[in-house]
């Protein structure tokens, strides 16, 4: 969507992150032996001391441990796993808000994530201003945003509420706005969390149709993260099962669901 072709390679100790917007690359996302370690401190004082000294002891937990998988362009892939398996951490690394501890992450294309839809809005600003701000954050040009905004407003079905401050919105309204934005900006890679159950049945159906629309565009890659096997079966061709931060199975969606449910 944007004309800028920005490629960034970030090296952090043993970890490498490569991001660009090259949609001609046949690979959309590649995780190669990725490990993400969170530091657990006994209390906040220990955390504070650790910023000054490397000698402070802390516990570690590997949210992703030696996680490797490849998501090809145009593929619709489901990441299946129980709570705490490391799905969300993997998603955060794909969207770029957190960094791996070691291993390499490659993302080719612009990622839009439908996760925690109601989060990430500014409560003081109105719905419209929030959309404008998001467009800024996405790096859209003025013309691009002007073209998209009516579409987003219409899809969200907020009507005149769009000019009210966000703190007056119900959680369903926030989620609708979030979904409308994330699905309208024409990403190259769409990441869908347990988000399709937002709002009432009618809106939820509309969301599913929208995701199907997006998937029908052949070069859009969709990554589904769920523990609901029905949803995965409905939308995806292939599946990966994640257990304790590690990919234990990779194959077609039917086999992946069999493997996952048999555990």
């Amino acid at each position: 969507m944007s004309s800028k072709a920005v490629s960034t390679v970030t090296r952090l100790g043993e970890a490498t992150v490569i991001r660009d917007e090259d949609v001609s690359n046949p690979i959309a996302i590649r995780f190669d032996h990725v490990r993400k370690t969170y530091k657990l401190f006994k209390n906040d004082r220990q955390r504070l001391l650790a910023t000054f000294s490397r000698r402070v002891k802390y516990d570690t937990i590997n949210a992703n441990d030696d996680l490797s998988f490849i998501c090809r362009r145009g593929e619709s892939l489901a990441l299946l796993g129980d709570n705490g398996a490391g799905k969300s951490t993997a998603l955060k690394m794909i969207t770029g808000v957190c960094f791996p501890t070691s291993g390499s992450v490659e993302v080719h294309g612009r990622v839009s994530a439908l996760l925690e839809l109601s989060a990430g809005f500014d409560a003081k600003l109105s719905g419209m201003e929030n959309i404008q701000m998001r467009c800024q954050l996405w790096g859209l040009s003025k013309e691009e945003s002007e073209e998209l905004i009516p579409e987003i407003v219409e899809f969200s079905e907020l009507g005149r509420y769009i000019d009210q401050p966000l703190r007056t919105y119900s959680s369903g309204m926030k989620a609708r706005l979030g979904f409308a934005f994330a699905s309208s900006i024409r990403p190259d890679i769409l990441v869908v969390d347990e988000a399709l159950s937002v709002g009432d049945r009618k809106f939820s159906k509309k969301c599913r149709n929208k995701v199907r629309d997006i998937m029908a565009k052949e070069d859009v890659t969709v990554l589904f993260v769920t523990h609901s096997t029905n949803m995965a079966k409905e939308f995806c061709q292939n599946g990966i099962v994640i257990q304790r931060g590690h990919a234990v199975f990779s194959g077609t969606i039917g086999d992946a669901i069999d493997f996952y449910t048999k555990q």
């Binding site: 800028k4 920005v6 952090l12 969170y38 530091k39 906040d44 955390r47 504070l48 910023t51 955060k92 969207t95 770029g96 808000v97 957190c98 960094f99 990622v111 925690e116 989060a119 990430g120 809005f121 500014d122 003081k124 600003l125 201003e129 404008q132 701000m133 800024q136 954050l137 790096g139 401050p165």
Partner: protein, 268 residues
């Protein structure tokens, strides 16, 4: 170190349009929810200046014209920059907690959060300076050629407080202690930095210490433009210590940013 500097500068340059847009949105955000809106940006400092003026000229009887300029102008040129700096000291040093969704919900370069917040505060400060100039013109207080250095002073203030925000925000994100410490220090800084009294009144040792206080430098340099009628770079006893502090803050900012920016999203 230079890598990090290059990284931050190029990031800011690439996103310059967004930074500008976000600064304006941040401005809207601060006065949103009030019927009088923008008036509040100026009402609070104006009331403070009147209160200080009342206290100092009628209560303490320590007000007198300075360099032939009205005392209230001297006061305003100290208190207006202070409002900018006090927000930078308290909120600017803990900026990731103000915009958590830019840190851990969206992919957004962290250094830009400091940039657009500082810029938004600087716009308010600029508005106050315009107001001061207009008030001078209306009341017939003579303005001198030294006023043309004001944009330069503001640019240096921008760089210093931006580096300040980049230096401290990662630490404040990791531990609340930094945020609390700086909020506690805000009031002492107001009273010791020569905003309400001329620094010349201090003993020699006090003046030397104050030369290394960036708050004093900012206030004195803004006063150079309006009241003292002198070039700020012709005051090496003030300017050189300030440059030294600026350099140290920039180096620490780069150091902290490089070491901690991958950790910030994990702890916010």
């Amino acid at each position: 170190m230079f890598e990090t500097l290059k990284h931050i500068v190029s990031e800011n340059w690439r996103w310059r349009r967004q930074v500008w847009g976000l600064a304006k949105i941040d401005l809207v955000r601060t006065y949103r929810g009030a019927a009088l809106g923008k008036v509040w940006l100026f009402a609070k400092p104006a009331v403070y200046i009147l209160v200080y003026w009342f206290t100092l000229s009628f209560g303490l009887r320590s007000a007198s014209d300075i360099n032939g300029k009205p005392f209230i102008l001297w006061l305003a040129t100290g208190v207006f920059p202070w409002f900018f700096m006090s927000d930078m000291i308290t909120t600017g040093s803990d900026i990731y907690h103000k915009y958590p969704y830019l840190v851990n919900r969206l992919k957004f370069p962290l250094s830009l959060i400091s940039t657009f917040y500082t810029l938004s505060l600087l716009m308010v400060f600029g508005g106050m300076m315009v107001f001061t100039i207009l008030a001078c013109l209306l009341t017939g207080v003579p303005l001198s050629v030294y006023l043309i250095q004001l944009p330069l002073v503001m640019a240096l203030m921008f760089v210093f407080w931006l580096a300040w925000s980049v230096m401290l925000s990662p630490l404040s994100a990791i531990s609340k202690d930094f945020g609390n410490l700086l909020k506690t220090l805000s009031t002492p800084f107001f009273w010791i930095s020569g905003i309400l009294f001329p620094l010349d009144a201090l003993p020699r040792i006090g003046r030397i210490i104050m030369a290394f206080n960036p708050v004093s430098w900012c206030v004195e340099s803004v006063r150079d433009c309006f009241v003292n009628d002198q070039w700020f770079w012709m005051q090496p006893k003030r300017f050189l210590p300030f440059l030294a502090v600026l350099l140290v803050v920039i180096i620490l900012a780069l150091h902290n940013y490089r070491r901690l920016y991958t950790e910030v999203p994990d702890v916010i």
